[in-house]
């Protein structure tokens, strides 16, 4: 999954040097699979990751690491976070910091709940889109037109959204069966899902391969099967948004203007770009995408419940930073978070989470070997140290306290952020209030 998305996006994982904003064209082409090429690097990394996962699964005897059930959960848990991350990305690429993502997502869940209750899944889709866009509009008016500090406006939207949905629910769900001040009735007609024919249903070839339990083969089959079962039309649409925005923002003229508004609005202005319009467009899009993130949370269980976003908007923000403000990276960060969350929720006891430590140890050991081979002794030794610690945790402990297992996703995110933060670069004018003609 991450492979195809990352491969389509021109700017996967924040390892390469940051591009200068004015250079929209691709770097000189050497063919996608040439040595050192981006696609090839990504393929190698994915293959190594799969191998490490498979080794961890066999060594720890925890099928939960790669089972199709886990992967279906990963998709369901990652998608809302990834969309929130993408929403943050499109906004910050135009220079507007959006910490109102959580609030816009809350509005999206409410819109999806109400639209779904009234008109079914397509109503939910429209409701989420409209409600989210409304949140975006508020943020755009405050930050772009009135020059309010982006953080202040974002916080206000988070508070406003939480209050507004309660108010609306009390108003509209009074006496409605199944509805109430904190919840909507279920989505009318239910949410229909489908599986990929032949491979994941009917003959279920992937399911059979998964049942063999063979190293790598069963793991790969489990991952592919998980990502191709219980799909909704909207999930496919949501996934397609990542390559779309990767292409749109980095390969089209409008995308270049969009990013120019975030990198250097005064330069853009001097070249005739209407920066205000770009920022409005970006923040409205950001609201709509957050709303879609809310839609996936609602469709996942088929109803709106107050508090069901549970801070996923903020986690999306972390995924965006983790992904270095790039679509491929956002997907990677969200998958990482969704994966550790799914393993925690699905494993009985804490065995699955402990197996994650083993997986991390194998990955870090591989990284350490690479660093040492390149002569980075200090870096390599540090990584090897962490790898040893993780391996010892796995082998030395029989179980983990629930406090630790529930924190796993956050610990993982923090660790990866610490390790990868060296290469991060945000848009230059991100969060800076822009006033036309005020440059110096």
């Amino acid at each position: 999954m991450s492979t195809s998305v990352g491969a389509a996006g021109p700017a996967p994982q924040g390892t390469g040097p940051a591009k200068s904003p004015g250079r929209s064209g691709p770097s000189p082409r050497r063919g996608p699979l040439a040595p050192g090429g981006r696609t090839r690097r990504l393929l190698v990394a994915t293959a190594l990751g799969l191998l490490a996962l498979s080794i961890a699964r066999v060594m720890a005897d925890e099928p939960v690491l790669t089972s199709s059930g886990t992967m279906t959960a990963v998709l369901g848990l990652s998608l809302p976070i990834a969309l929130a991350g993408l929403a943050g990305l499109v906004s910050e690429r135009a220079g507007v910091v959006n910490i109102g993502l959580e609030g816009m997502m809350i509005l999206g869940t409410w819109g999806a709940g109400y639209g779904g209750y009234q008109y079914g899944v397509w109503g939910a889709f429209l409701g989420a889109l409209l409600a989210g866009t409304f949140g975006g509009l508020l943020h755009a008016v405050a930050t772009v037109s009135f020059g309010v500090d982006h953080i202040v406006s974002g916080v206000a939207i988070n508070l406003l959204a939480a209050g507004a949905v309660r108010f609306l629910s009390e108003l509209l769900y009074k006496g409605v069966p199944g509805g109430g001040p904190t919840q909507s009735p279920t989505v009318r007609g239910g949410v229909s899902t489908f599986d990929l024919p032949v491979l994941s249903s009917g003959p279920d070839l992937l399911g059979r391969a998964e049942d063999t339990g063979l190293p790598v083969v069963a793991d790969l089959a489990g991952i592919l099967r998980g990502f191709t079962t219980d799909l909704t039309v909207f999930a496919v649409l949501g996934l397609a948004l990542f390559p779309f925005f990767a292409f749109f923002l980095w390969r089209t003229a409008l995308g270049l203007r969009w990013r120019a508004a975030g990198e250097n609005p005064y330069a853009a202005q001097s070249l005739g770009v209407d920066v205000y319009r770009m920022k409005y467009l970006a923040v409205l899009t950001s609201g709509a995408l957050s709303g879609l993130g809310g839609l996936f949370i609602v469709l996942f269980s088929g109803l709106y419940k107050e508090g069901q976003t549970g801070g996923r908007g903020f986690i999306g923000l972390a995924a965006m930073i983790f992904g270095n403000w790039r679509p491929g990276g956002v997907v990677g960060g969200s998958l990482l978070f969704g994966f550790s969350d799914a393993v925690r929720l699905r494993s009985s006891g804490s065995g699955g989470v402990l197996a994650l430590f083993l997986f991390a140890a194998i990955l870090l050991a591989a990284l350490a070997v690479r660093q040492l081979a390149r002569g980075h002794r200090l870096h390599g030794a540090a990584l090897a140290g962490i790898a040893t610690a993780a391996a010892l945790t796995w082998s030395g402990l029989d179980s983990l306290p629930n406090e630790v297992t529930t924190m796993t996703p956050y610990i993982v995110t923090l660790l990866v952020l610490v390790i990868s933060s060296q290469n991060l670069r945000m848009p230059t004018y991100d969060g800076v209030v822009y006033r036309r003609g005020e440059d110096h």
């Binding site: 059930g69 369901g76 020059g147 206000a156 406003l160 001040p181 269980s301 069901q308 929720l345 699905r346």
Partner: protein, 342 residues
């Protein structure tokens, strides 16, 4: 520029103010009768109409208003629950006595406010123990009701494998879990029991986590469990749909008789029974106690006082009802003791 800043500041102010009031208390004062009894009630987040806990308290308050001819006023906190103390003070300032605070989260707040109004009787439903003289705490013996639904689950399970999903690891949720396990083991000592908590410690993060609950429930159902008891506030919104998505899987509700409140025929079909907490009975009894004795004492309500129980709505447990009532009778007469912790 200056003007723009001022407009901006104003907008932000208005936005913040709006957010403050929309989330704030909605009060509805009712002149219920001519009696002198003025009963105040402060709901937990969710308020009247939440379909479970608060609605039960509201039903009790309605009875108080009708049968005891009391004047009642009810308030709901904002969704962050940050203005609970203000609600209690407001009720006390308006001359209400007794004042009923609904929900565990009022425990500390009520102690603080009660010290400011020593002549007013406060009651916290589901609260933690209090040393303040004018605070009474009414709790439930959830382990007893949970024992019964645990027995239902063990009798109805075809796979001899059942599950429990809790909102967190608090003492309260552990009581639900302990009773459930004891009830199930009383029927079948070899039954397999899964236990998953959505959030650690006393965290509130597990009360509305529909995604987490659905993932956890789906995993249990796939692993062979066929009945799951969810004691995690609104997170039933994830575990019930998980049951409905798989063939011959069941869910057990909590607090209210969720067969009646869930509002979707597809979900009704999978609600085997509910462990009901009769908050309504406790509200009415507390007010009666106040009328008769002038004060309310701390106490806990079990099967004997009809504070907890199991529901039969839907008719899925008709065939085993008599066996469950047998356990109920034994618990009531004391021959069967249910521990509140494992």
């Amino acid at each position: 520029m200056r003007r723009v800043t001022r407009v901006a500041a104003l907008t932000t102010g208005v936005v913040l103010a709006l957010s403050a009031c929309s989330g704030g208390s909605d009060s509805s004062s009712d002149q219920g009768g001519s009696g002198e009894l003025k009963v105040g009630m402060a709901f937990d987040t969710g308020g009247r109409g939440d379909g479970t806990f608060n609605d039960l308290a509201a039903a009790g308050l309605d009875t108080v208003k009708k049968d005891l001819k009391a004047q009642v006023q009810e308030l709901s906190p904002d969704d962050q629950g940050s203005n609970r103390a203000d609600l209690l003070r407001q009720l006390a300032d308006d001359g209400h006595d007794p004042i009923i605070a609904v929900g565990f989260s009022y425990s500390e707040v009520t102690d603080t406010v009660a010290k400011e109004y020593p002549d007013v009787q406060f009651v916290v439903i589901d609260g933690s123990p209090s040393a303040v003289p004018n605070v009474a705490v009414k709790t439930f013996e959830e382990e007893q009701g949970s024992f019964l639904v645990g027995a239902v689950a063990a009798l109805k399970s075809k796979t001899a494998h059942i599950g429990f999903i809790g909102g967190n690891e608090s003492q309260l949720i552990n009581k639900f879990h302990a009773g459930y396990v004891q009830g199930a083991k009383a029927v079948n000592p070899k039954i397999v029991l899964d236990d998953k908590r959505l959030a650690p410690g006393n965290s509130d993060a597990g009360w509305g986590d529909t995604q987490g609950a659905k993932v956890a429930a789906t995993a249990m159902y796939q692993a062979g469990a066929d009945i799951i008891y969810t004691a995690a506030g609104g997170s039933w919104g994830g575990s019930f749909p998980a049951a409905a998505a798989a063939p011959s899987r069941w869910a057990i509700g909590v607090d209210a008789d969720q067969y009646n409140t869930v509002g979707d025929p597809k979900l009704q079909k999978i609600i085997l029974t509910s462990m009901v907490k009769r908050v309504d009975n406790v509200v009415v009894n507390s007010v009666k106690e106040f009328q008769e004795k002038g004060k309310i004492l701390t106490g806990s309500y079990g099967l004997k006082d009809k504070g907890v129980g199991f529901s039969v709505t839907g008719g899925f447990v008709e065939d085993i009802k008599s066996r469950i009532e047998g356990y109920e009778a034994k618990i009531i007469d004391g021959t069967l003791a249910v521990a509140s912790a494992l």
